[in-house]
Point group: C2
């Protein structure tokens, strides 16, 4: 694909800036992060007006209320952005970290040093706070970033880009360390994901259709975050109180998130005990239920549950809908998850050591849990400080992608004049 | 690209086998490795005949002597293959290794478990020993492998494939854990690198043209090993004895290898001292020299050295040819390396702590060394046991790719009934 003059300039500047940010000291990077936070607080009213512009066009263009809500700046959201910057500043600097240093018999000391990747392109949808999350993680990990947000939030994003620029300026880093693509024309996305010369990796944040399109068109490696068809399996040896709490939480704490449970698996040995109570809980939360034949027959005709179709096991509802399947064993649960799941996050509820161990080893997902709600699967909860997404890839980064996922390693070798025989 | 019936079957079988090998115990995998070694020794004469078939067609097809040499089985090479299998068996099993386990304030214990990637496709050129190296690393790391060797060594490869099958059979693992593509038609390479459904990663081993073609045509992620334009920089604070030994070794110990030095960089402060002696050493080894203006003028008219062209700094000679550049500072050396190098392996010779530290941080290569010959850059020398190649990529695996590079990690979360607030 040909490059416009504009995107070429963005690319050239990003590549140049990446050389400077990759050598910036931890102190400089932390100061930049804190200064960006100060700029956001100082520019609050200008940011609110920019945001109002986006909201106005959003209303005109008939954006749904939930979308408008996600788009809206509030005092609380400012606080969260600034707190996020402080948290990233407080994280250890991954760059230059040397690990696995050990001596070879010939006296060479060999280890690995963590290094930035270079230039990271991040493509995301409407939530403008992603601008700050993504910028802060790229900056701290020593990478230059090119951010392309949704057109619905362009004024808010550019407002935040101004704050980022102020923060970078204050510590003497070039503004091109974080660039926000100023034009919302879709062709620039196509250019960004094929600028191999200037961009080292693409991170798409958004729905499956966005990620799918980018993955198929990109010539640059993509760290993918695809759908989250997450499961909770209630084993026959589960503690029923934990099982109830975890299953209800994993489904109902939030619906439109990738780490919410979409399918509940229950051991046939305990289904008769736990399902009636659980189903009452779900119905109280207004969750629509779809069950396998066995589940439906266990619950009986009075319970509001419709038969699940094959397609239900493949679906990420992102809504108050739950499919339920009753299974004979942990082996069946593992098979179901590895076949129908999306390799995102799956949890077993059990008190049985051997069963837990088997589930952990055999489920092929980015996060595998024992006795915990799938809703914990995210960068903050894992102590990564923040995340640019949750990778369902196996190569490079898997699961929540924080600072480490945005870095690489190089071998470092300390010798004393050794030559090879 | 459409798939032939044959390659589709290979893919389906590999995917099935990957589920079994990923759960195989360390003991089973090690026994399989040792049994493959025993089969190689037991089948020595059959392997020699198969190899003779390849050599005969090679001679008929006018293969060069060095290529015929690389192709030839000898007692020593059998020993090396079997010893390699033993070494891989002796390595720690990476699969299931749990690291970075720590508690979050809510009592969740979160860490990472190492997992196989799934199915690995390896495409390589004539050396048949790669069949065993690649098979052993894939097997130990819990992956299924599809190997496609060069047509020149097809009979040798199939002979070795028979030994692998015997070894797998002996421990009850399916033969499809390691499959050698039986047909040397090039179209099967095209199919292999686009079977996204069945193959998780492609590792090409071979020259730039092979790797380049595969990278541009593959739809599956590729762990690339591209060219090695390696540098040694002799700093003004170098120990001159070490500098001499390292520079001579890095160039002349072997020529046609990716970790041999192609360009020597010398600080102007010491060029007058060290260059005449070094150049005499290179000429004694029959190395053709090409120098920058300054280098040529320092050496004077009597010395056999031709002026280097711009293209020389970009060239991987893989031959007894060396380009030499005299520079003013470590900054200039770093700039030269990051601009002209191939991000493979670069070494500084210095006794200066600050200079060494700067070089290590700023050179953007897969291996960066101080006071050591670039020739050490390989999996055996780094203690990885063996390697499937040396990655010049930054994503996923960088530098020599051993067992760890063929694995991924998943998050494991141990809870006690935690739900998210």
């Amino acid at each position: 694909m040909g490059q416009s003059e504009y995107m070429r300039t963005v690319g050239v500047e990003a590549r140049k800036a990446s050389v400077q940010i990759c050598r910036a000291s931890t102190e400089t990077k932390n100061e930049a992060l804190l200064s960006i936070g100060e700029a956001i607080l100082a520019k609050r009213s200008a940011l609110m007006s920019a945001n109002e512009q986006d909201l106005e066009s959003g209303r005109k263009n008939g954006l749904s209320d939930p979308m408008l809500d996600r788009l809206t700046f509030t005092d609380e959201r400012f606080e969260i952005m600034v707190e996020g910057l402080r948290q990233v500043a407080a994280l250890n600097d991954p760059v230059g970290e040397i690990t696995d240093m050990s001596y070879q018999p010939n006296g060479l000391q060999i280890g690995k040093m963590r290094t930035p990747l270079g230039v990271i392109g991040i493509i995301f949808e409407s939530r403008p706070n992603v601008t700050i999350d993504a910028a802060s993680l790229c900056l701290k990990s020593g990478n230059a970033a090119i951010l392309r947000g949704g057109s619905e939030s362009i004024y808010s994003n550019l407002g935040l880009a101004g704050c980022i620029e102020l923060g970078l300026e204050k510590v003497g880093l070039p503004a091109a360390v974080v660039q926000v693509v100023k034009d919302t024309d879709r062709k620039y996305v196509g250019e960004l994901i094929t600028m191999n010369e200037f961009v080292d990796v693409i991170v798409p944040r958004g729905g499956n259709s966005l990620v799918g399109r980018i993955t198929s068109e990109a010539t640059i490696p993509v760290i993918k975050h695809l759908d989250g068809i997450c499961h909770v399996y209630i084993d026959k040896d589960a503690d029923m109180e934990k099982a109830y709490a975890i299953a209800i939480n994993a489904k109902t704490q939030r619906y439109a998130v990738c780490n919410a449970m979409e399918t509940l698996l229950v051991s046939a040995d305990v289904a008769g005990d736990i399902l009636p109570r659980l189903v009452a809980g779900f119905l109280e939360h207004g969750v629509e239920l779809r069950g396998c034949e066995k589940t439906v027959s266990i619950l009986g005709a009075e319970v509001q549950i419709s038969p699940a179709k094959e397609s239900d096991w493949h679906e990420e509802y992102l809504a108050p809908i739950l499919s339920i399947r009753t299974l004979d064993s942990v082996e069946d649960a593992v098979s179901h998850i590895n076949h129908y799941g999306s390799k995102h996050t799956d949890s077993i509820v059990t008190e049985n050591y051997t069963t837990a161990r088997q589930f952990l080893q055999e489920v092929d997902s980015s996060s595998v849990m024992v006795n915990a709600s799938t809703r914990f699967s995210d960068g903050f909860e894992y102590g990564l400080g923040a995340e640019v997404g949750i990778s369902t890839d196996k190569l490079h980064a898997r699961g929540p992608v924080g600072l480490e996922g945005l870095t690489s390693q190089k071998y470092v070798v300390f010798g004393d004049g050794q030559v090879r025989q």
